[in-house]
């Protein structure tokens, strides 16, 4: 079993390996979060527009 420090050192390639994984994490998480938030926002604005429209119209 490797030690934890050894694991994080990645045989001297820590910068390259961990920045690749970090970059992937950022891109993938953004990929998931952004459309979910957009969907919630869309439904909310559409809902308020429809209800607002109803109140104004006779």
């Amino acid at each position: 079993m490797k030690s934890l420090t050894e694991f994080f050192a990645m045989g001297g390639y820590a910068t390259y390996v961990w920045s690749s994984y970090a970059l992937a994490a950022v891109v993938l998480i953004w990929n998931v979060v952004q459309p979910l938030r957009r969907e919630r926002q869309l439904l909310r604005t559409m809902g308020s527009r429809v209800q607002g429209g109803r109140r104004v119209a006779p």
Partner: protein, 248 residues
């Protein structure tokens, strides 16, 4: 058969279907990512030549595969929209583009981070790297076209033509390492029965690829739902949905 397809491909049906399926896909993807990350970072041994730096493969290769796969999905959906005038085709194509662009970006960036320590350079203009960069430009061009053309139907048509024309780039990316001399090495997995990779390294790679693929499918469904809502915002079913109980 065709009737049933048309019913399924109608926006309200697809929206309901996407809503049902996406949580499951997110769940499966999360499990696959957990397994794939453990496999790639801990279980797989270091490479005999490249040492630990080769672990970048578990991000780089799934991203690169997905960048081409998503493009084919986008072009096929665009073609379906163009030929059969199926609205869902246009919608799915539009939802694919940002995802494909992000995978292409990841493939290029992680390739660069891998190339620096191993090859000795961040970037070279060889056929493989250049054709992958062109793929990124195709995605960005598609997205620019979508935001530049106001009329959604016209935008979808123009985008589909661009996507279909760009399909010629996909075999070029794939075969570039065979057709020309490149700094990038040849394909590791051309056939599954005898890949040039040890099985202990291959299994995590396949796991990560499946994780990326399911994540793509899940996010594509969410993006498609958003596009459906925008496309159909003046229809009754969307109005009902937006004022329905689940929203607030």
């Amino acid at each position: 058969m065709f009737e049933r397809f048309h019913k399924f491909a109608s926006p309200p049906h697809f929206h309901a279907f996407a809503r049902m399926l996406s949580p499951w896909l997110f769940g499966v993807s999360a499990l696959l990512f957990a397994a794939g990350l453990f496999g790639g970072l801990v279980y797989a041994p270091a490479d005999y030549q490249q040492g630990e730096s080769f672990r970048i493969i578990y991000i780089h290769v799934p991203s690169a595969w997905l960048s081409m796969f998503v493009y084919m999905v986008m072009a096929s959906a665009g073609a379906v929209g163009l030929i059969w005038k199926v609205k869902m085709g246009d919608i799915v194509a539009r939802a694919c583009a940002p995802l494909g662009a992000s995978f292409t970006f990841l493939a290029l960036a992680t390739g660069s981070l891998w190339g620096k320590p191993m090859w000795g350079t961040w970037w070279v203009w060889d056929a493989r790297l250049t054709s992958e960069l062109i793929l990124l430009f195709l995605y960005l061009g598609y997205m620019a076209l979508q935001s530049a053309i106001e009329d959604r139907r016209a935008a979808a048509r123009a985008g589909a033509v661009l996507a279909i024309v760009g399909v010629v780039n996909i075999p070029i990316i794939h075969y570039s390492v065979e057709w020309w001399s490149t700094l990038h090495q040849g394909a590791t997995i051309t056939k599954l029965d005898r890949p040039s990779m040890d099985i202990s390294m291959l299994i995590p790679l396949l796991g990560m690829t499946l994780a990326f693929k399911t994540l793509f499918a899940a996010v594509l469904l969410v993006r498609t739902r958003c596009e459906i809502l925008e496309f159909e915002q003046h229809t009754n079913w969307v109005r009902e949905l937006a004022t329905g109980p689940e929203v607030r």
